[in-house]
């Protein structure tokens, strides 16, 4: 079944997908570009409808995952991205570029994780295509989210090992979750809101990894980017922030926090709170089943651009009570999680009305 689109274009979407599947490389690229334009316009219409105060415009989205991986051919030009399209959803066979094929598969795993666990349809929850460019720059030691797509370097073998950046599931899940956050809480990328933005990417990345590997709380190593560093075991540890590599500066308690701290370092505080919450719920439990649901509702419905750690503590505590009952083991676990990092969750108003507006039945 082909995805449908509500946009009106001269060439019907079904025909464009047929061209992508069977056309020459040039025809495929032109068809892809046309689809990109249609998607961009659909998104703009939706945003404009919201800004104009007319309520959300019901726009038909795609119901299937749509992955496109591009080769940046080692260009440093971010403005030339996404690059040459190499693999589409319709390509069932690996094309032989290990990084590219791994990136494609991992992007699919992240999509499936969000879809099966949280009933979320891609980053915008409306079937948005997931664009990834690999081989960006030369020996580029990074992966990032541009606001529109994922970008991966190759690594240099000096800092990040070559060939692992685009192939690591937790990295892809981390970057893709930045897209989810953009469409939901839209946490600003500085200060405590920025640290919460990073925290959400780490939390959903580790849950995706645990879900894919069917790891219970005590079976997971709780590491982001395991074995990617030339020196060190991983990029970050949610279990023991600050212990992943020799100069790891991540902190895990408010007593070590100061204003102006780098967001990748202070995100260790909420990361640790999530880990302790999961432990308190149970070593034999699955993180995504209870703690994950609480955090997802918080990200989707309650956290906003300037939310801080205390807000996150209050909100997750309240949501824990709403979903699992006041005084439940799960709500108490959330309290213990935040308490462990020096933040005491406060009782707030009943939030039933707030989250009830937005697909409460989907997640509860």
């Amino acid at each position: 079944m082909k995805p449908s689109s509500s946009c009106c274009f001269i060439i019907p979407p079904d025909l464009l997908y047929q061209i992508i599947k069977e056309g020459t490389p040039e025809q495929k690229e032109k068809a892809l570009r046309t689809l990109e334009v249609s998607e961009s316009l659909r998104t703009q219409r939706s945003i404009l409808a919201g800004i104009r105060g007319g309520g959300p415009l019901k726009v038909a989205g795609h119901q299937q995952k749509r992955r496109i991986v591009y080769d940046a051919h080692h260009s440093y030009d971010i403005f030339s991205l996404p690059g040459e399209p190499k693999r589409y959803e319709e390509n069932t066979q690996d094309i032989g570029d290990k990084d590219l094929d791994n990136c494609f598969h991992n992007t699919g795993i992240v999509y499936d994780f969000y879809k099966e666990v949280f009933m979320r349809n891609s980053m915008d929850d409306n079937g948005m295509a997931m664009h990834s460019s690999i081989h960006f720059g030369v020996d580029f030691d990074n992966a990032l989210w541009t606001g529109n797509q994922m970008v991966y370097g190759d690594g240099s073998d000096l800092f990040l090992k070559k060939g692992l950046v685009a192939s690591n599931l937790t990295v892809t899940a981390h970057e893709l979750t930045h897209g989810v956050t953009d469409y939901e809480a839209n946490l600003v990328y500085r200060g405590q809101p920025g640290a919460l933005n990073e925290h959400m990417s780490d939390v959903f990345a580790i849950m995706c990894d645990q879900w894919f590997n069917k790891h219970r709380v005590d079976e997971s190593l709780w590491l982001i980017g395991k074995d990617m560093l030339v020196e060190g075991q991983a990029l970050r540890s949610l279990k023991e922030p600050g212990t992943s590599y020799p100069s790891d500066k991540q902190i895990s308690h408010m007593q070590d926090y100061h204003t102006g701290m780098r967001i990748h370092f202070s995100s260790g505080i909420p990361n640790k709170a999530f880990y302790v919450t999961c432990k308190e719920i149970g070593n034999n439990s699955y993180s995504w089943e209870k703690a994950g649901k609480i955090w997802y509702v918080a990200l989707r419905d309650r956290l906003r651009e300037y939310s801080k750690f205390q807000d996150a503590a209050d909100i997750t505590f309240e949501i824990g009570g709403l979903i699992f009952g006041k005084g439940s083991k799960e709500q108490n676990a959330v309290h213990k999680g935040w308490e462990a990092v020096g933040i005491m969750p406060r009782e707030g108003p009943d939030i039933t009305k707030v989250i009830g507006k937005k697909r409460k039945q989907d997640i509860l």
Partner: protein
């Protein structure tokens, strides 16, 4: 022309900082020549400084490069992966790798 270069990198997926200062007088001639070539290719002294942070995106690296010339002039560039002029890429790669190697010593 170039006398001293200061390079600072922060942010990115890892959040790890990398810094280095290079005195071109202390480089072997081949390396000094390579560095001068990268600066020329970047058209560094014609670049506007870009202090604005990107409005969107996450995990981008942030760079600050300051070059002091032997006539006591100072030029600075603040940029990121999302705002970097592409011709600066090779210079940043050189400085980043130099900083990492220095940190490993």
């Amino acid at each position: 022309m170039v006398w001293k270069i200061y390079f600072q990198q922060s942010g990115g997926l890892t959040g790890i900082d990398n810094n280095i200062s290079i005195d071109s007088d202390l480089l072997v001639p081949e390396e000094a020549s390579e560095l001068q070539h990268l600066i020329d290719e970047a058209r560094f002294f014609d670049l506007p400084s870009q202090p604005e942070a990107p409005l969107r995106g996450a995990d981008y690296l942030e760079y600050k490069i300051t070059i002091e010339t032997n006539d006591n002039k100072k030029y600075s560039l603040n940029t990121t992966d999302l705002t970097m002029p592409p011709n600066v890429g090779p210079l940043i790669r050189y400085l980043r790798q130099k900083a990492i190697k220095e940190g490993l010593r």
